[in-house]
Amino acid sequence: MSRDVVVAGVGMHPWGKWGRNFVEYGRAAVADALEDSGLDWRDVEFVSGADTIRNGYPGFIAGATFAQAMGWTGVPVASSYAACASGATAMSVARDRIRAGACEIALVVGADTTPKGFFKPVEGADRFTDPDWLRFRLLGATNPTYFALYARRRMDLYGATDEDFAQVKVKNAKHGLANPRARYRKEVTIEEVLASPMVADPLRLLEICATSDGGAAVILMSLDEAERRGVADSLKVAAISTVTPTYPNTVLDLPEFATDSAAVSAAPELPYRAAISAAAYEEAGVGPDDIDLAEVYDLSTALELDWVESLGLCKEGEAEQLVRAGETSIGGRIPVNTSGGLSSFGEAIPAQALAQVCELTWQLRGQAGDRQVDGARVGITANQGLFGHGSSVILTR
């Protein structure tokens, strides 16, 4: 029988672009999370770090880096890299350790400092065996290239328009206004979005998320420990999905050159993105109708629409209608990205999945201020790290 694990505290450094040591952002987030959960650093019994791969060696061993930065206590650590899913993977490692009874209190932390402009492959010599290197060399395929392919599909299959995509940015910018930790806190109009330069047709500059510095931390406890300590407002971690694709993966995924072949094997019942949250729903014993809010990975405006459908929040092809009707805005039927999403934050890879969890936590506690979704009890996060890393967390009150 598993022991319940709860989120007992969260902390986030604001997102921005300062070029400082990533450890600084993470440590600030840790300090906030410790205070939020009423802990001293020495109470932490396990550190699960989410790695950054663009900051040299300390980034590859984030668990130890942050343990050292907070002050060596001999605490066991683990470090995880799963691209955008790193935070969720690190969280699942910590959660499983608590469930196994090996500790009661775990810290999960991730932070990044990012370069300007496009993400590019990790520096080094030519790497002809690395698909992530080759796709830049042979195809000139950046991350926005893939987002744009998916966006064009929505236009061709569902009649999505430029205005539909722009509306997602408008919605998220409005949500971000009410988030003190967001990097961008300014409303934007559809006209402004459509006037921004085209990056990868049909996606424009304001429709593609920026790359940001940031740090986030989550304190997990066994429910028993949280009750012993009188932690008010802890939230149950009802599910964490870290599934990989099932062969054949017939959706072209970043950063691949091609799909798997469906010539001799039928495509799986659920495409990969939908399978990520399906695993979370099954573990939590809830369904899309139970969801009060969702934090999804709007790497581009159009991709948020794909995610809404992948989460089963509406039927395939209907996400544009939801946005047009205001259903995914705060106050609507199923608010999406109440935090402001990547539209308002930009992406700090190892911290981003944890930032999604922070937003759910504040919402379910009723601490989201002007972003509050009334009566929120069940929240879900979703993202996908390249090379097959699923990430979906469900929290319940």
Binding site: G117, F136, L138, A141, R152, Y184, F257, A263, V264
Partner: protein, 168 residues
């Protein structure tokens, strides 16, 4: 004003590169990556096929069939279908970061397409030939495989596969 970061300016110590000239026949023309496509006329992408279960791989998988439950180590090289239908398309309006290398001194935007190969039942990405932009493309359009220069350096003209609309 709400902005995202503009992509990096193109500049990567490109002193050994110059515009690819189609009349420069002195330099060897080589595949930009080995074993992924032929340089014949007409060219083909090279994939592999599992001798045990028949599934296809591109990029090539030479050692282990990745269809779960098969696990055969007997994979053979095959030429993939030369034509397919566009699954989706886009373009690059800013120069991608290294290791992308522009074929010309000044960057020019170019289109990319993901193409469905019917027999192999897979979708393969590729650049679209120079001079064909997104305005010329539609989903479902038939395209064929051609070879064009990717970039040129002191040693050679490096070639890559690209998709070209089939003349109607």
């Amino acid at each position: 004003m709400v902005t995202a970061d503009p992509p990096d300016d193109p500049s990567d110590g490109a002193s050994t590169l110059r515009a690819v000239s189609s009349t420069d026949t002195a330099k060897p023309r080589v595949a930009a990556v080995e074993g992924w496509f032929t340089l014949e006329d007409p060219p083909h992408l090279l994939g592999t096929k599992c001798s045990a279960c028949g599934t296809y791989f591109f990029p090539r998988e030479d050692d282990w069939c990745r269809r779960p439950g098969c696990g055969s180590t007997d994979l053979v090289e095959v030429e993939l279908s030369r034509t397919g239908k566009i699954w989706s398309y886009t373009d690059a309006q800013y120069q991608p970061p290294t290791p992308y290398v522009s074929p010309h001194e000044e960057f020019g935007s170019f289109a990319q397409a993901a193409v469905e190969l019917a027999e192999e039942q897979l979708i393969v990405m590729g650049q679209v030939v120079e001079g064909v932009g997104v305005a010329d493309l539609t989903t479902g359009q038939e395209v064929e495989l051609v070879i064009e220069p990717l970039f040129e350096d002191d040693e050679a003209v490096h070639l890559v596969w690209k998709w070209k609309p089939v003349a109607s």
